[in-house]
Homo-oligomer: 303 residues x 3
Amino acid sequence: MNGKDLISIRDLERKDIEGLFSLAEKMEGEIGGEKSPLKNRIIATLFFEPSTRTRLSFQAAAQRLGASVINFESVALTSMAKGETFVDTIKIVDGYADLLVIRHSLEGSARLAANVAKHPVANGGDGGNQHPTQTLIDLYTIRKVKKKLDGLCVHLVGDLKYARTMRSLLYGLGMFGADVTLVSPKGLEMDKGVVDEAKTLFSMKIKQTNELDLKGADVAYVCRIQKERFADPYEAEKLQKEFKITEEQLKGVKEDLVILHPLPKIDEIDPAIDNSKHATYFEQAKLGVPMRMAIIMKLLGRA
Amino acid sequence: MNGKDLISIRDLERKDIEGLFSLAEKMEGEIGGEKSPLKNRIIATLFFEPSTRTRLSFQAAAQRLGASVINFESVALTSMAKGETFVDTIKIVDGYADLLVIRHSLEGSARLAANVAKHPVANGGDGGNQHPTQTLIDLYTIRKVKKKLDGLCVHLVGDLKYARTMRSLLYGLGMFGADVTLVSPKGLEMDKGVVDEAKTLFSMKIKQTNELDLKGADVAYVCRIQKERFADPYEAEKLQKEFKITEEQLKGVKEDLVILHPLPKIDEIDPAIDNSKHATYFEQAKLGVPMRMAIIMKLLGRA
Amino acid sequence: MNGKDLISIRDLERKDIEGLFSLAEKMEGEIGGEKSPLKNRIIATLFFEPSTRTRLSFQAAAQRLGASVINFESVALTSMAKGETFVDTIKIVDGYADLLVIRHSLEGSARLAANVAKHPVANGGDGGNQHPTQTLIDLYTIRKVKKKLDGLCVHLVGDLKYARTMRSLLYGLGMFGADVTLVSPKGLEMDKGVVDEAKTLFSMKIKQTNELDLKGADVAYVCRIQKERFADPYEAEKLQKEFKITEEQLKGVKEDLVILHPLPKIDEIDPAIDNSKHATYFEQAKLGVPMRMAIIMKLLGRA
């Protein structure tokens, strides 16, 4: 991974990820310290699709290391088919910065950027495809809070058909030996091909259900029902209500159940739960900074 | 104030403000120097309502101290009643940064943010309510230029009913023993309750008038007639014309009259006056940087 | 130039530009190094007209030197005739920063800003008038790649009537003894007064043609046909097609022909050429950073 790109979680081996866990832990310890290993270095954050949290988290990570940020935000109006503008933008910014973070609504854009740029590229999310730094944060958070990943019972809850993070997360959980229960409304199940592949690759236990029941779970990872995918918004709201995490839903769950969410959340979790001992999503967001510090250091060949 | 929040000028005692005066003076001397006391620290500027000058001034202050800035600008589309999004945003950014500067169109939002965030919060203006850093800059500027606040004759001119800065400024002037004349169009007088409270609290002399006459004034603090509050824009323009500071209006005023304005100004002051010895509003804007440096240092417990 | 402004290429003498060449070369060597000569300094980038590349390049240059950036972007809605707002903005930001970079759609705005600001002002492009840092980058790139400017055969290709960069570039090329061929569609020739003046000032050889033929050229500098200037967009597209650089057009050109473009490019150069040995425009964009570093250092009197 040194000096290379981070495009997909699938480019990483278990030992790469374990290396990032250690490095992120070290980075946590250095926040607030005097070291500026990336002094005078420039990280470019190129957001062709808005994503405030990913942008701020990467910028904070860069700046905690002493680096500066140049930022470009633009809605990609033209199709990638036309292409020139995107590739030209990447080539130009590649001449200004030491590392490029790219967010784009179209699948494959980060890989294309990596092919074109001489400097390392980190994928900050490309459409429904990959969002590897999010997956690394998710795994890091679970491991940090639970002290392990192996043998944990993790429920993935919500729209598993369209949610970007869930496929990569399943893959990552498999790699580290967790057991997974897929919990989704009917019709929003995770793609069978993805599930079968994970079973084959990691001999992992995967259950599937259309009923939300968190009783046996160590971790519940919740994501949004994407209303904009529904012809009938009323149907979407009904489903969201059924799959919403409420205090009622938390009756009888394990004492140390951990609830995660990639944020921003809207209707998926009752705000009353934010103050419960289970809610770990703000801690998860916070851990994004040291993990992204680790990723930046690694991609720049500095760790 | 160390390590706490700055939400309202009313949270401060006279000795706190005097401490900020001294610290701001020290900061002025350090602009352009080599010290970076806040190296690797991150200040988040969260602007739910646009305010270019406040944003740039806070960012410059943070950067003069060696800190970095992450910035978020968004128009608050939803009412605070809904709430979740604002509180979630604060909690997330609280995980990224060491101090949060918040500007929002709704009263009470900064206080809410302070309740939610673990890091210090500085109120960068919340609706018509409070804008304490502006008031501190105003007091600091007067004291710096006039060498004192006690016993000065300060005219507050313009729309005293709606202008955010004027109530806090009256309070601050009272605390430091200045005499105040309130000059406003009929119907735009300052709220009687506010005036009475200031008289009671500080036994201060307050005159009220609907005629602009700056002859006895040491300081004229001018603010905008908020046209958007008028049903009839023609009426607003007529009033603005009557309360505009022109060369004519400055005949017979004290040699060392100081004119201040929170900026941006539009029609309130004839541009011809910008080059006069009385115009002190650009100096006032400039002093915003060392005062905000002082505030940041104080809130971070570093001074 | 020390401690002054950079508004027009015409304010510079040949020895000033040669000094910038040397300094830019030194700056290239220092990118990635440990020196932060502008630590705690603030550069303001004020963009009253969008220009992503110029903005990012200036920001990167400032940050490579250890400086911080405050940024303001706004579409200038009001005419300069009204004026107050622009001048006020400059005066306010002048109180926050050590150097101001200004981009505006109206001619003369940078000069006006320089008259008003106490700190140095760099013109980042003011309408169709001047874009001196671009011209300096252009000359620097040619000199760097070709090892000289004197005696080179440089073709300026495209809309020479409206393109901002071309007049200044002609002037700069004349100053350094290059020969120029002006290649434009009929009706888009460079203004006769500008051409005659260049001939008189520098006794330079200038050919003019309406046919694109790069056979004798050492350098082809290509710019866009500005479609928005045409009543008939079809006519503009037809012209663009005729003056487009294609593989066909490059048959028989010199082995070491260098193609430059200020970027962004749209239709002017076939993307297939991006990977040819002739394409030097991304290198040119990259060289913008060290040249702007040199300009910033010079304007701040630090070199």
